[in-house]
Symmetry: D3
Subunit: 178 residues, 6 copies
Amino acid sequence: MTTGLFLGRFQPVHSGHILSIKGILEEVDDLIIVVGSALKSFSLQNPFTAGERIHMIRLALSEAGVPPERVMVLAVPDTLPPNYHGIYVSQVETYCPGFDLVYTHNPLVRSLFEQAGYDLGDHRVFDRERFWGTTIRDGMINGGSWRDCVPSSVAEYIDEIEGVRRLKQLSGTDEPGQ
Amino acid sequence: MTTGLFLGRFQPVHSGHILSIKGILEEVDDLIIVVGSALKSFSLQNPFTAGERIHMIRLALSEAGVPPERVMVLAVPDTLPPNYHGIYVSQVETYCPGFDLVYTHNPLVRSLFEQAGYDLGDHRVFDRERFWGTTIRDGMINGGSWRDCVPSSVAEYIDEIEGVRRLKQLSGTDEPGQ
Amino acid sequence: MTTGLFLGRFQPVHSGHILSIKGILEEVDDLIIVVGSALKSFSLQNPFTAGERIHMIRLALSEAGVPPERVMVLAVPDTLPPNYHGIYVSQVETYCPGFDLVYTHNPLVRSLFEQAGYDLGDHRVFDRERFWGTTIRDGMINGGSWRDCVPSSVAEYIDEIEGVRRLKQLSGTDEPGQ
Amino acid sequence: MTTGLFLGRFQPVHSGHILSIKGILEEVDDLIIVVGSALKSFSLQNPFTAGERIHMIRLALSEAGVPPERVMVLAVPDTLPPNYHGIYVSQVETYCPGFDLVYTHNPLVRSLFEQAGYDLGDHRVFDRERFWGTTIRDGMINGGSWRDCVPSSVAEYIDEIEGVRRLKQLSGTDEPGQ
Amino acid sequence: MTTGLFLGRFQPVHSGHILSIKGILEEVDDLIIVVGSALKSFSLQNPFTAGERIHMIRLALSEAGVPPERVMVLAVPDTLPPNYHGIYVSQVETYCPGFDLVYTHNPLVRSLFEQAGYDLGDHRVFDRERFWGTTIRDGMINGGSWRDCVPSSVAEYIDEIEGVRRLKQLSGTDEPGQ
Amino acid sequence: MTTGLFLGRFQPVHSGHILSIKGILEEVDDLIIVVGSALKSFSLQNPFTAGERIHMIRLALSEAGVPPERVMVLAVPDTLPPNYHGIYVSQVETYCPGFDLVYTHNPLVRSLFEQAGYDLGDHRVFDRERFWGTTIRDGMINGGSWRDCVPSSVAEYIDEIEGVRRLKQLSGTDEPGQ
């Protein structure tokens, strides 16, 4: 049995993530989805808490019909002190059940897991330009079309927690005359 | 819809935990199981890593036939610095999706969530004397009968990761003549 | 009785701060002044220690004739890890006696306290262009006119601790030929 | 002008503290009162938050008629990691305005400040047996006579925040049949 | 070429340590000596700073005629948070050049390095009863005969830094009538 | 006897460092070389671990014929939280045996040690443009001529640990078509 580990920040969860997860599930039996940078929230780069991101992933997986028993969602903070990269793999190992293949877009994380002797899974990145966290967060702040880049259950949840208002507040663009 | 939060250390998962979880699931719709003290491991009080404990819980829930879509397992570290209790509720909130009712045996944690305005769920403690982490860990070290206090899938997993040997090593009792 | 909380970095204390404090004291009975980012010092953005900033505030309040029994000055560090914004309100609450109204210029801090259910006090910003930390620190480094933007007791104290020399050292501009 | 520094945990503030402070104020011009172990709270040894302890000190000083302009109350956390004693003096220095004489009962703290070259003030300990934090906290839990060992304004405040109930909860003695 | 790693707390360096090091140097080419718990000092269990312990080791090695090019002395702090044992091996790896064989008396550390796949070197413990940190520190406090258990250069250095007085201060035994 | 302290990041060790060390050794009896920012690694600014940098220094000193008994190499992390500059000198003091003269290029570190009352040693910077970490790391990534700026034993070690590949991975320049 093969267990994969898929590591991202999910700020927010978008349709590219779900396509990736579905693709990975064709190659592995079980998948651990790691919500990285778990303690970061309420910033322009990382607006949502770990709890909110976990909730988004569960909504999106359910909407996509992914069987819940094949997937586990866990949150892992960055190392302390920040950027103590030399212990990062070890930290992920303490937080997660065992895994065999590591999937991630992040070149640093790829480098660290490779250095530690892990096999890196190959997964296609789907329509990166459209499904990209930075673009989506920019769309939220500037009134762009982010809504069709995320699963509809995620869009509804972002409305429910007033995610767009939060991002605008953090960017200062909600205040008249500032 | 009501979401419960059940907080424990699960060192290791035992049958009392599973009875509690089944009881709680009769009162709430969804349940977040929090593996507390997530960073503690390889000590006599806390022998297993968060990842190992999460794996045990999933094995036990599956053995008990609990529907996976109703339960979510998350790991939350202690505060930093240790015993900075005043921020603990806030820390749990950042790690977890929203919840309504808090279940825990720990008097400190009860006190903290109550102070923060949460409702505390009432749940029976099942056969505390028998299903108690301390007793079970002692049994592992001293050759007592721990095996019938945990779900059989958990016992097998503890064998697989050589958990008893680990505890004996940590207690120094595996070394001849020390 | 109403207690206000005014949160700033005070790098250094300037006349705009004192005008704000006097304005807030017309609206609240007691005021807690929080020196934020308490552990930051000896950098271009944050040259002064918490202790030095507390001393500046006390000098300035005394110079302005503010009654000492109505004001309390406390230092609160940033969260650990840095930018763990989700626990910041909770951290401020553990450091400070209870408060009702929060005053701050910082959009992130406003957002966090609002999210936690606090009322935000409305206070005018006085001559922001002139009374602005960044401008004042630049003036110190480049020989600009910072001295008339801060209370005279603060200017004297900055002289006493050789604050201008410190900033020049940190910026490298005090070293010939570097 | 001489500034003293008086360092304690104030769990809770008691009449011995106030006698010490009044005695010290006969020897120094200004006094910085440091609430140590600022992040500890909600434990049997450290039940009250820094904010609550600061409030108690201000109430007690006001009740005792100590002039507010001669005293400053600040909170300082323990070092990180805990027990990194080698940097403690330096940490206190960053949190506080300059000081000349250090007053404390704690032998470790005395040793550290002496090692760093500070003069230690001599102050009498008043009726240690009666005015002692441990005795007072025990009295709160076990129904002993703590109330006459603290200033009456402090006793009222402890009632207001239900401090006795908190201590009993933490000790588990409030729960029937546990 | 084989590199050994010898891990201890060295509170203080004693003759048993030096016998161990000489024994290990018969089995390996190079030796890294790790001063563990580097940040602990000024406590009864850990009176000396990392810098002081490094100095003691260098004095003792020189006194014993160990060639300096075969030995390297490094200080490694405990993990943060304390007892985050799951990352300890990884932390030691980031602090030290590569090593092949691990020597230590500590059962936890043995367990962690074994779990990580390292070979544990076998080394005799020399006269444990006599050459034991706890006994030596007790001797310092209570006027016992510690001096003949440590190399004479180490004894002189402990005198120079007034180590015995420090321990007595920390234990409170230097104060008349306390 | 005079002990110097030379503080740098050594990312990587280059020939300018060795020229500096030889120059300093003409002025002091003993030298402590501090590898600063010890926990930083696997980033574009800080590619190498403390252990790797310590190894490089020892190789280079041996190649240059520096007597090992006059030099000690130690690793010191940045403060926690990052940029808590007010305790940095104190932290270095706990990690290192006593020292008299401080040598460093870093203006912040110079400012901090001067503030703490240390004498700063004067040492020439050798051919800064050529022997400069930033230039050397850029050369590694972009195929520039870094190899003649570092001692040949260091160049060989960097080859052995595939340092150039690591930097290219971290910069993303090793991936076709990214």
